[in-house]
Amino acid sequence: MTRDAGFLVPSASAWLRRQQQRLLAGGLALVVAILVGAPIAALLAELVVSEEGSLGLLGRSALWLLFARTVASALAVTAIAILVGVPLGFVFGRSDVPGRRVLWMIHTVPLFVPPFLLALGWSYLLAPGGRPAELLFSTFGVVMVLSVALAPVVTALTAVALAGIEQSLEESARVVAPPLRAVRGILLPAARPAVALGGLIVFALAASELGVPLFLGGRTYVESVFSRLGGIDYAPGEAVVLAAPLLAVGLLLVILERRLVGRRRFELVGLRRIREPLPLGRWRPAATALAIALGLVSIAPLASLAWRAKESPSLSSVAGWLGGSLWTSLTMATAAAAAALVIAVLVGHALVQRRPFGRLLDAVLFLGLLTPAAVWGVGLIAAWNRPETSWVYRGWPILVLAGAARYSILAVRTATVAFAQSSPGLEEAGQVAGAGYGRRLLSLVIPLHWRGLVLAFVLTLVFCLRDLDLFVLFYPPGREPLMVRIFTLEANGPPEIVAALAIVQVLVVAAVLASGGLALAWRARR
């Protein structure tokens, strides 16, 4: 403080300390505006100046039929994912099925594998032809592959929600009702917001999917956008027009998320105590058999890929086909996950403090995940493909921007749940002692929730690594990520090399997950 004309005037450094949170919030808002706002604004601007011919596309009934078909497929995937994921969420999260943790891990594997690779694995498995292969290469096959790939989203959210329900809520139901009735009447309804969130995410990812329908032959609306950005039907103006209904879908999903999930609590109070699993009684053998069967379905395509990869001529030939794609994938995904982590700390902290600003940014970032990837492809091209920003568009920065825009919300939600588990008093004690916002974040919030932040980083990294639908739309020449490399090679490359690259992709993701697990275990021991 300095004394000026008899008044105490805060010094510049004291003023800065007090304004830290506002300044950081302003910077954060700017970053989110660049990530999410710029592509949408650019897309809308292009739409306004679209030629009449392009706009006329929206009058074609065939196009709307394709749109309806895409929505119907995504709804079918969502319905199956909920029908499978909710019971499994209970089985893995709260029941007494033997080996449920291991079975849960196996069931979750497809979530970390690009759905296109699962489709590829199934195609090798059912290659001899006949009715099963016919079914695979159809809309039915698309729906089933995506259901297996995305059901773990619902399973995981349901299981975590059930485990997080206050113990006394469950026990007061158990005192009067048998286990399954307590689950049906009390636990599952209490977990409804989590199930709704899972359903919305599954719908968004299914509607966004490009690789599986392109490979298995079920035509989708997203494909019509993709083909206009590629070489054959190149018509970027039309792509902008076609992206508009998808943007509307994204906005609708965000509105639904706000209404269905609402101002949910992020505290998982029930996790604070060890709980006895709920006995399934006579249903236990059937539930165990079902969980094992679904586990086998989850890993069968990977086993099939590995079997085909064995035929690869040599490791050096595989490395040759890989080129720089693995390096691009790893560097781009790491940079995007790091950016997402910084965003997650600031937005997550604002969310647990129940600041309206936090909720606004959370909604904007959710739009990133819930809006089909094709919209981002078109929007990013419109925003960054200009002479003055060509250094962004022609290089790795565009991949980082895209990855962070689409997947930051995963880090935000993970960090928020982690932050919400500790008492606000921990940080308030630091504030009372005079620590500014930045100091509290660096010295208290981040070290206290280190494990949650590792998880947030790993989750975002893995989703960036597994992405195909987004990066395939605009990857810079010579800088295609591994998944794009596999996708483009599939059309005319040797199948055993494609399978070997797919296994490399799976192993890289497994290594990232294992490293994250080791880091968490190391922190847990300390």
Binding site: E166, S168, L169, E171, S172, A173, R174, V175, V176, A177, P178, R181, G185, I186, P189, A190, R192, I274, E276
Partner: protein, 245 residues
């Protein structure tokens, strides 16, 4: 002579491999209110959860209404067949159900048809003064109203015994006195055998016929409330009754 509502004989319970209760023995007679008093961590809540069947004991016998509920480390009666009711410290009202929905769930779980639940719900909400709040959700109620819903939900299906887990600990003095009066009236009116877990001597004196002192997982003293006040045994009992003198 009818059998005690709850009998606990030589009960031992481990939590996460650590003994929390050791050789606990007592009985709650029909129409009696027994308070179990003890410091934090003495095993009071674990005792309630073992009686309810929510944790499996290591040793001893629990009988409810004369039926064996658990013998040794084997549970012979699942929680829902013990016909007990509980009011938890945090009340545990199901937030997604209305006030009437909370009562309806417990009645229908007990096999009462939906149509037949209306009358007891109406009667009990009237009895606790919440007849006009049946459509409200727990989050829309005041603390005192929530407490009364929890009581109505516990008593609506006429349980064999009622267990109260520090149910007044979060209330202010005035509200606590009003609710204790209501509980006393209800227990006297219905003659429901009750096990009250508390660390508040005022609660024990106001509601209980007898008090058991639980220290380090062992019952160190049990007897009529008046005798405990005059002849406390052990450090916790001394400190406990000091606040009553």
């Amino acid at each position: 002579m009818s059998s005690p509502a709850i009998e606990v004989d030589g009960l031992g319970v481990d939590v996460a491999g650590r003994p929390v209760l050791r050789d606990v023995t007592f009985a709650v007679s029909q129409g009696e209110v027994l308070a179990v008093a003890g410091a934090s961590g003495s095993g009071k809540s674990t005792l309630l959860r073992a009686i309810l069947g929510l944790v499996v004991p290591r040793s001893g016998i629990i009988r409810v209404g004369g039926r064996d509920a658990s013998i040794g480390n084997r549970s012979t009666l699942p929680p829902e067949e013990r016909n007990l009711a509980i009011v938890f410290q945090d009340l545990a009202l199901w937030p997604h159900l209305t006030v009437a929905g909370n009562l309806e769930f417990v009645l229908s779980a007990k096999g009462v048809s939906r149509a037949a639940t209306r009358e007891p719900i109406r009667e009990w909400l009237g009895r606790v003064g919440l007849a006009d709040r049946s459509g409200a959700y727990p989050g829309e109620l005041s603390g005192g109203e929530q407490q009364r819903v929890a009581l109505a939900r516990a008593l609506v299906y006429e349980p064999a015994a009622l267990l109260l887990d520090e149910p007044f600990s979060s209330l202010d003095v005035a509200l606590k006195e009003r609710l204790m009066r209501l509980v006393r009236e209800l227990l006297a009116e219905r003659r429901v055998p009750t096990l009250l877990v508390t660390h508040d001597p005022e609660e024990a004196r106001a509601l209980a016929d007898r008090v058991a002192i639980l220290e380090g997982g062992i019952v160190t003293q049990i007897g009529p409330t008046d005798r405990l006040v005059t002849e406390p045994e052990g450090s916790f009992a001394e400190a406990f009754v000091k606040r009553l003198r």
